[in-house]
């Protein structure tokens, strides 16, 4: 500390004066001084554009507009802002207060406001607004001109559906909130915005439906966000990691999506969405385990089909978790369980293999993980090479060399595909990691090890909470009414209540008699019933 004080004292006096000037909180009256401060604070960066404007009626009074190149919408500035400023000054020559004239007349821009302090001026400037300064005024006019190059609304790559909206979120927070508003046209859809990140000043919004959401959950979200004091927020992942309940566990307690319809569906159930500027991934809290096996499309197709698909997903998850472990346990400890014919086949294959089953499994699993990671980050042209190397050289070669038995390759391949069938990447990756733990416990104690591992997993999951909601709801603690939207997906007309565990303020979701009622004449009716007269096709 004293060292710093010493340095401060050593600084020449003039420079200190300069620094003090910059530290000024509010805007001064001299336009040249103000512009100097802006230049100095931004380090004379060439992308800060300053345009001096003088008006013909009174060349003495000068005004300036300041904006950041690339963050603003250039046509708006040229056509609407500058043009209408000149026009309005021409019209009202006698009026001395330029800002008043501007704010009355320059209606072409969507919003105008006046600011007095430097901090908010810079925040507005760097968010893409245009700052208007005038000589003799100790305030600045901020015109909303945000724009510039952005990615368009496209289909999301990570969550592809066959049916339903193809729109995906973009990196722009305003576009994202608008995409949800387009689905829920309801004044009760409330958005609260804030600014986090000491260096990045990232925009962040929380969205919920007032009247449905439990206010305690919103309060909890606000509290957790309020204590965030990070240097930078480059993705919603930063926020996720500082507000989640269990940061060291393997399982995600916050879910995220790129689809507006998924956000809308969750908001309607009483959840809260967190939008972060600069990322298409929107966080949704609270999240329960079963959500990670659901996709928006489940609700768009008919219920028996989506129920079966959900069951398949859970089954796939289990296979990706304990598939190789099961094989290791059976071949190492419980050979008597295999039907004799199959046992003979497996035994003849493994005869030439020099390793025990666990080593075989580890070799193949690690190889597969390497192939997958290599393929993920490669340009498309190279990834073709990887698949050839993976399939032919490793898959075929390893068997011919007698290092790994063909049965093991089948098991590992099935597991790999099963883990890709889990719709949510976050939960698939937990299974991917836990698979190795299960393989080891199966190698140590066979089925006993696997079952103990599963019990431990269940205990761990049961101990998790997401924003106060137990992670395994509605299975444990059991909620009968919510069970119809879990592994099974009940018919839409039976979803009369919102999930109980989220304590919605308005638990009634829809009218009670939504079951379709085909006309009576289509059913089998007796001949003397009047309504059945037109029964023949």
């Amino acid at each position: 500390m004293s060292y710093r004080k010493f340095l401060k004292k050593m600084k020449p006096k003039e420079q200190r004066k300069d620094l003090e000037k910059v530290e000024q909180k509010s805007i001064g009256t001299s336009i040249t001084e103000n512009l100097n401060i802006i230049k100095q604070k931004t380090g004379n960066s060439p992308d800060i554009i300053i345009r001096m404007l003088t008006f013909s009626h009174d060349p003495e009074v000068s005004t300036a507009i300041v904006h950041v190149d690339g963050l603003v919408d250039n046509p708006t500035i040229n056509e609407f802002l500058v043009q209408s400023m000149e026009d309005s000054v021409q019209e009202k020559l006698e009026e001395k207060d330029l800002f008043k004239v501007f704010s009355e007349k320059v209606v072409a821009v969507s919003s105008l406001e006046t600011l007095k302090d430097w901090d908010s001026l810079f925040l507005a400037l760097l968010s893409g607004d245009t700052v208007i300064l005038a000589d003799g005024k100790n305030e600045a006019l901020i015109a909303s001109t945000r724009g510039g190059e952005r990615r368009l609304v496209e289909q999301s790559d990570s969550e592809i559906t066959l049916r339903g909206s193809k729109e995906g979120f973009t990196e722009s927070i305003n576009t994202n909130t608008a995409l949800v508003r387009r689905i829920i046209k309801n004044p009760n859809l409330w958005v609260e915005s804030m600014n986090l990140g000491k260096q990045t000043n990232t925009d962040l919004s929380i969205m919920y439906i007032n009247g449905i959401v439990d206010t305690d959950i919103v309060k909890e979200v606000r509290q957790r966000l309020a204590r965030v004091n990070l240097d930078a927020i480059l993705d919603s992942g930063y926020i996720e990691q500082v507000i989640e309940d269990e940061s060291s566990g393997l399982f995600p307690t916050i879910t995220h999506t790129e689809r507006p319809d998924a956000v809308a569906g969750n908001l309607l159930e009483g959840r809260v969405a967190i939008f972060v500027s600069g990322t298409p991934h929107v966080l949704i809290v609270p999240a329960v385990m079963i959500q990670f096996f659901q996709t928006p499309e489940d609700y768009y197709v008919r219920f028996p089909i989506s129920t079966l698909i959900r069951m398949l997903r859970v089954f796939m998850f289990l296979i990706s978790l304990i598939g190789p472990a099961f094989y290791v346990a059976v071949t190492t400890f419980h050979q008597e369980m295999i039907p004799t014919d199959l046992l003979v086949i497996i035994a003849s294959q493994t005869e030439s293999v020099p390793f025990p089953a666990i080593v075989e499994a580890l070799i193949m699993e690690v190889t597969f993980e390497i192939l997958r990671e290599a393929g993920l980050r490669m340009p498309n042209k190279i990834s073709a090479t990887i698949s050839i190397v993976g399939a032919l050289v490793i898959g075929q070669g390893v068997i011919q060399a007698g290092i790994v038995s063909p049965a093991m390759v089948i098991v590992v391949a099935t597991t790999a595909i099963a883990s890709l069938a889990t719709p949510n990447y976050d939960i698939a990756i937990s299974a991917r990691l836990l698979r190795f733990a299960f393989m080891l416990s199966a190698a140590i104690a066979g089925f006993y090890g696997i079952i103990l591992g599963l019990i431990m997993l269940i205990v761990h999951l049961a101990s998790l909470r997401s924003f106060g909601i137990p992670y395994l709801t509605p299975l444990a603690p059991l909620e009968w009414k919510s069970l119809k939207d879990t592994i099974i997906r009940g018919p839409i007309w039976s979803f009369n209540e919102r999930p109980e565990s989220l304590h919605p303020q308005n638990p009634v979701r829809q009218g009670k008699n939504q079951k379709p009622l085909p006309p009576l004449k289509r059913r089998m009716v007796r001949a003397d019933t009047k309504e059945g007269d037109k029964n023949e096709s």
Partner: protein
């Protein structure tokens, strides 16, 4: 006591799982031969009376554990000693269940694994669970209960399909009534039904005290019915002579399943039921010992005790008997008479009488 709440449905599931756990697997009331299912039903009915004794005690002190209200009933000194004895009793029960579980598991699935390793693996999971508290135990119970029910349906379906059931094995019924009653009061009443004494340590966590009576009766009746049904199934599939010779009748039943030439040797189902049952019983006993000790010795964080108490259970399970036949001998002759009878029946009845007199005086 922990700051937690469980619902009546969770209590219901806890009670059923706790009682079913390992009693599904071992022969119950086999002294009475083919009438053993009757023994189970009678014992269940008698244990409902026991349950009402525990419930009456709970109603006198709805926010206190058993180990807390002994102090209020029979004075600080004696009450604390009794509470301590109860904690020891729970620990001993946990150790017995763990030992039995370990021996069962090794005897048919892992003959070369040392007993200590198998028990140590189990106790690690138990410690982890107890560490997380009663709410997690209850939620885990709910998940495991679903698995057990699915297994039961699957098994019954397979047994029925493979045409193993031979009802004539059950005849003639009601041979010797004195034998039946004798078995009820010397064996079956204490294990598994009398073991619900541990729930005096869990009742105070209930969030709806009113429904507790109904829940308990339903849980005991369902347990009794399920156990009787399993016994009937075992007898009708295997016949009495085979059951008397087998250590685990359910395992023998499962092993005789053969469907379509490929569904056979379904031992894994038995291991699953065995591990889940053993895990659950040891966990509940250890939890009750931990929570009792933490309130007796005034320890702020009960979870701190999970590790030492768990280890105690593990070592106790190794030293309580030098071999398994000694263990069984103790379990059949000494333990019911000198530990289970007083701790499960006599002491609660005495406590209830004292509570009754004390509370009448007040009025």
């Amino acid at each position: 006591m922990e700051k937690a709440k469980i619902s009546t449905s969770q209590l219901f599931i806890l009670m059923i799982l706790f009682q079913l756990s390992n009693s599904l697997l071992i022969p119950l009331g086999m002294k009475a031969g083919r009438d053993s299912w009757l023994v189970i039903l009678i014992a269940a009915v008698v244990s409902i009376f026991l349950f009402f004794i525990y419930r009456a005690l709970y109603l006198y002190y709805p926010s206190l554990l058993l180990t807390d209200y002994t102090e209020k009933l029979i004075g600080k000194f004696l009450g604390r000693i009794l509470a301590f004895l109860y904690i020891l009793f729970f620990l001993y029960c946990a150790a017995r269940v763990l030992r039995e579980f370990g021996v069962m598991l090794l005897s048919f699935a892992f003959p070369e694994t040392p007993l200590f390793v198998a028990c140590a693996m189990m106790i690690l999971v138990v410690i982890y669970t107890v560490f997380k508290g009663i709410e997690v135990v209850a939620r885990t119970g709910e998940m495991l209960f679903v698995i057990m029910i699915m297994l039961a349906f699957f098994l019954f379906l397979l047994i029925a399909i493979s045409g193993l059931i031979d009802v004539s094995n059950l005849r003639p019924a009601f041979e010797d009534s004195s034998k039946v009653l004798n078995t009820v009061f010397t064996e079956t009443l204490y294990v598994p039904f009398g073991e619900i004494i541990v729930f005096t340590m869990i009742f105070p966590y209930l969030n709806q005290a009113k429904k507790m009576g109904k829940t308990g009766v339903a849980a005991i009746s369902i347990t009794g019915a399920a156990l009787a049904f399993t016994t009937v199934l075992n007898i009708s599939v295997l016949g009495v002579p085979l059951i008397e010779r087998s250590l685990f009748p359910l395992l023998t039943t499962i092993q005789s399943i053969q469907v379509g030439g490929f569904l056979q040797r379904l031992d894994v189902i038995f291991i699953l039921a065995l591990v889940i049952g053993g895990f659950f019983k040891v966990t509940v006993y250890t939890y009750c010992a931990v929570i009792g000790a933490s309130s007796l010795f005034d320890i702020k964080k009960p979870s701190k005790l999970a590790y030492p108490m768990g280890m105690t259970v593990l070592f106790l399970s190794m030293v309580i008997a030098s071999n398994y036949s000694e263990h069984i001998e103790e379990g059949l002759k000494i333990f019911p008479l000198y530990a289970q009878l007083p701790f499960q029946i006599i002491l609660p009845v005495l406590l209830l009488i004292i509570a009754f007199i004390k509370n009448r005086k007040k009025e």
